[in-house]
Amino acid sequence: MTAIRKFEKPLGMRDSFPLINEKKEKVREIGRLFLRSRGFDFIKTPTVEYYETIGKASAIADAALFKLVDRQGETLVLRPDMTTPIVRVATSKLLNEQNPLRLAYFANVFRAQEQEGGRPAEFEQMGVELFGDTSVYADAEMIITADELLNELGILKHRLTVGHAGLLHSILCSYTDNETQVHELSSYLVEKNIVGFEEAIRLSNLGDFKETKLLAFIDQASNVKSIDDLKPFINPENADQYKMFFYLKELSLLLESSSLSEKVTYDLTLTSEMSYYTGMLFEVFASGSGFAVGNGGRYDGLLEAFDSQVGATGFGLRVDRLLEVMAQVSVDEPHALLLFDEESYGNAVKKAKELRLAGIRTTIQLASSVELEEEYTKKFTKVYSMTAGGGENV
């Protein structure tokens, strides 16, 4: 380890310089207005939570948690996601007051980096959670809201991929012999390791019928435009499975009626390492970022971990990745500069007040403190030089 130099930040931490910060604020503003207009209430939760509850329940790997110890010796974590803290608040308090409950957040979360750059250890997330509605309409609302929020942010070239964790599990069960195999195959699907999936099937001794079905499944179910294309893999006699299939069908009709079909594809092999996803889940991709900009889904399982059965669905977007794919936001508001000297200070203050009243951003600055005047004045749209020598306008 070399000594830490004065300019260094902890691994993965980033500064937001004014331009980026403005862009972020803009995203926050647009998102806030948009989500509030759809009936979501914003909340904030503490930055630090207990490891025992939030840390363990969260889907983020233990190694990625920032841990600290409080004075009582309890282990704390910097919140690694927002969903888990919001579930804590909702199940312990807010759901008693309102049910169904719509909450939104814009907050920074923390995930430790092992060694490499390119991934921030702290970043903002914006998202919503809807508690107490297990209907397909609630799930459709999440997908539609995510899509429209991206439109609102000017990100038009995006795609949503929708899957169903429960249905996938059920299909894998019907073409395998035991839970271990299901688990193995799912774990290949989480990484979309098609080679590994196919190899596992070949080594599995499942018999021709099941093997052929599974190979066809990974080939055909990973990118379909219409839910009916999935029908060959559904067993109508399996009531649970058929119900989930029908659910997905209903969902697709709801999305179609919101004219989302263009942007949505279905991938039944889509799954997540987070075991609390029990139903529909989706991912959001936008051209311009190498990583998904967001994801969401139904996570009734997480609520059960907090002793609640009301169900929940939601989504979150990564603000840092939104910034990557958003068109350049130009911040060319008028910005005036008043350069004064000792004599003209009173006038400068008066003039500044007038300008600010007129809505113009105004900086007043003692001229003699500016060393490189040409350089300094460059970023202002208008410069008033109120010094003894200078005229009023430049």
Binding site: R159, K192, E283, A292
Partner: protein
């Protein structure tokens, strides 16, 4: 048709992979001037090749600056990057194994293993229930047991010739390795038509 950026490993695998693509019916120039250029365009197919170190291919793909890439399974296992593994190209077949001097056993107190695959080696010995000390090297791994740096090495074996010439023998085989077609998760969605087409063509030509 959107442009596709393919990250290719420089050297031997590049040639094999390039032939594979040509056999799959892609209109690519017969001889790519591979000499010093790092980016090579094939405008007729709207394909752009990035030529990278084999170890770096998954990095380019994970960050999305290349849509797809060709990488050895050894590299994928070692780095565990978030990429989709779409197809086994079955080229540059070899395997990873442990090797050492004949008739030797691991040091009881501090068993040492030299390798350029620290993560694969650590996982392997962990699963065997042995705690070993890993020493990372970048090449000529065979030297380590010969001059007493380590008891064992974990390295790629293709013919076994290098081991033999240096008086080493293979102990355990860890995993088979071939080259894989990998894709960036976002490209996989946004350029799905092109990527699926490429996979399909490659599959057909390999049969």
């Amino acid at each position: 048709m959107s442009e596709l950026t393919i990250a290719m490993p420089k050297g031997r695998i590049f040639e094999e992979a390039y032939i594979l693509l040509r056999n799959a019916g892609f209109q690519l120039p017969e001889d790519l001037d591979e000499s010093r250029k790092l980016i090579v365009e094939a405008p007729s197919e709207k394909i752009r090749f990035i030529l990278a170190k084999p170890m770096d291919v998954p990095v380019y793909v994970e960050h999305g600056v290349a849509d797809i890439g060709i990488a050895g399974k050894d590299v994928l296992l070692e780095q565990k990057r978030i990429v989709h593994e779409l197809l086994d190209l079955k080229i540059s077949q070899c395997y990873i194994a442990t090797a050492g001097l004949p008739n030797t056993s691991m040091n009881d107190i501090a068993p040492r293993v030299a390798t350029k695959y620290p993560s694969i080696a650590a996982d392997f010995y962990k699963q065997k229930g042995e705690q070993v000390e890993i020493i990372g090297l970048n090449g000529s791994i065979e030297l380590a047991p010969m001059i007493g740096l380590a008891d064992r090495i974990v390295d790629i074996v293709s013919t076994g010739k290098t081991l033999k010439e240096n008086g080493l023998i293979e102990y355990e085989k860890i995993v088979d390795v071939t080259s894989r077609l990998i894709a960036n998760p976002v490209s996989y969605r946004l350029k799905n038509d092109r990527i699926r087409e490429l996979v399909q063509k490659l599959k057909e030509s390999m049969e």
